[in-house]
Amino acid sequence: MKKKLGILLVLTLILWGCSKEKTTEPDAPMVLFEVPSTFPNTSYKMESNPITEDGFLLGKKIFFDGKLSRDGTISCAECHNQAYAFTHHGHAQSHGIDGQVGPRNGPALQNLAWQKTFFWDGGVFDLDLFSIAPIENPVEMDEKIGNVLEKLRNDQSYPPIFKKAFGTEEVTTERFLKSLSQFMLTLVSANSKYDQYKTGKANFSNDEKVGLTLFNEKGCGSCHPEPLFTDESFKSNGLPTDFFRNFVDFGRFRITELSDDKYKFKVPSLRNIEYTFPYMHDGRFSSLEDVLDHYADGGMADLENLDPIFKKNTKRGIALTSKEKSQIIAFLKTLTDEEFLKNKRFAP
């Protein structure tokens, strides 16, 4: 294996040498996807959809294309903005076509290769099948996937890129969905201050250090474990259910229809949390202070499936002093990955 890599390297070097005349400064060969040394194996079957530069570029073009919506106005990027870890900045609930509002807050798109389910209720179990949902959702893009493929076939710029990526100009459902997956899979965030601290490349302040310890000792880490900061399970953290006046979101129950799953939502990753506000599935909290107050100040609702970890004290939740809260927040901010938020490779 190593030998092959060596040969490849030499070959690339030779090829570089050849193309020197055209490009004065050859770009470093793009590593599109790598499992960070501290991360576990991916959940996504990478071998079922090998990431290539052309597939990635096609996926990116699609991600930023308003053609995916009925009236051409809404692209995926509209609700998933890189500067905010691909969340819908400024919107507690996502706004889609015709200004319509869906009930849920757009989660960050990051480290999707390690996710087993998608959506706050985990209704989709394969990233490749995901994109059909926003495209066909009447309050998001309100289009039919068949129409989208037809629009791409009729757009002169697309078929040649499909050919580059997949060998022929044919625009198929599989190619469309898998190229979008290729782009989304490359959205890996693993270079925050926390990651650098873990690999000895950066130092934590005292508050950040204490914050990390508290985070694990107080039990946050039991649901939001390092290094992905989610265990991918569905839990209830006691959010009162009366947030919307005339709508109750049952969360995971909507998918499994098991009463044990009522009001449970997928534990979200906390990476880049400083930028993914507002928080929770419905975007009810606008700041990390509000989130910590929810966990610590007894405002949790006594829901039937409230996680037992929050029932250990007389006051529901996790007891924290205000100092401890601010230390946890200081730690949470070390999860910001500037390189990820600003990487030009993800920009159109």
Binding site: K116, F125, A133, E136, I255, E257
Partner: protein, 261 residues
């Protein structure tokens, strides 16, 4: 004289009978076609324009009547089974050609029963997109959607129409039945297998391509007092169980044509 004639007749019929069995050359192949005839009770189907009455005396029309058929098995009198793996069909009242399923390369023999699944089996329901082509391609449905994108899975059976008994503003009803048992959690399984014996036998021969005529009685969907007045919209797999249990009984083999070609 009479006796001779009788003996002769007997001889001939024995001869023919012998011929008939030895007539089956297992190397011969032909096709078997399944013809789905949609009915309401005994009345012919008519989309939108005709009003029917269900078991609870409620009026209803039908605007959409679709279902997936897969995992077809033909069984011979000796018990051997011929399985049609990886073949998926979407039968729609609105599309005449979809109501005939042709199974090719069926070895000669006398087939006594046919069975099939109504829906898309769990293995296929969780398969890679590469395997979702033809009627399983989520891009193939247009406005007549047969795929749930928010709760990944196919809609196995879809029936919609109008009824004055519906309590909603549009005075319509919608039954979308799906649920393959779940991928990331165990959920309701609404896959149903239908097994029908064929009294006439389907006699596949080099020169006989049997046509199996099935009747599909949409009235049976309301069999166990499913009332539109009580449930005009059924889309959750749990509520769908009762409907799936009803519609699995709507199929019957009417007759089989074994005409020589």
């Amino acid at each position: 004289m009479k006796k001779i004639a009788l003996a002769l007749a007997l001889g001939i019929s024995v001869f023919f009978a012998a011929c008939e069995t030895s007539d089956i050359n297992p190397n011969d192949k032909n096709s078997v076609s399944l013809h789905f005839e949609h009915l309401v009770g005994t009345e012919a189907f008519m989309l939108n324009t005709k009003t029917f009455t269900n078991a609870s005396g409620e009026d209803f029309t039908i605007s959409t009547f679709n279902y997936f058929v897969s995992n077809i098995i033909l069984k011979k009198s000796d018990g051997t089974e011929l399985k049609f793996a990886d073949k998926y069909f979407l039968v729609k009242e609105s599309l005449a050609e979809s109501k005939v399923i042709t199974l090719t390369d069926v070895p000669a023999g006398d087939y006594t029963s046919v069975s099939f699944m109504v829906g898309v089996d769990s293995a296929k329901s969780v398969s890679d997109v590469a395997q979702r082509t033809g009627v399983l391609d989520p891009a193939s449905y247009g406005t007549d959607n047969m795929y749930w994108s928010w709760n990944s899975g196919y809609i196995f059976f879809k029936m919609e129409g109008k009824s004055t008994k519906s309590t909603n503003a549009a005075k319509d009803y919608k039954f979308h039945i799906g649920g393959f048992g779940g991928m990331s959690a165990k959920t309701v399984n609404n896959l149903r297998t239908v097994t029908l014996s064929m009294a006439d036998l389907a006699k596949v021969r080099k020169n006989i391509a049997p046509e199996v005529h099935l009747t599909v009685d949409a009235r049976k969907v309301f069999k166990t007092s499913l009332k539109i007045a009580e449930s005009n919209t059924i889309m959750s797999p749990t509520l769908g169980v009762a409907v799936a249990n009803n519609y699995k009984d709507m199929f019957a083999v009417e007759h089989v044509h074994n005409d020589e070609m």
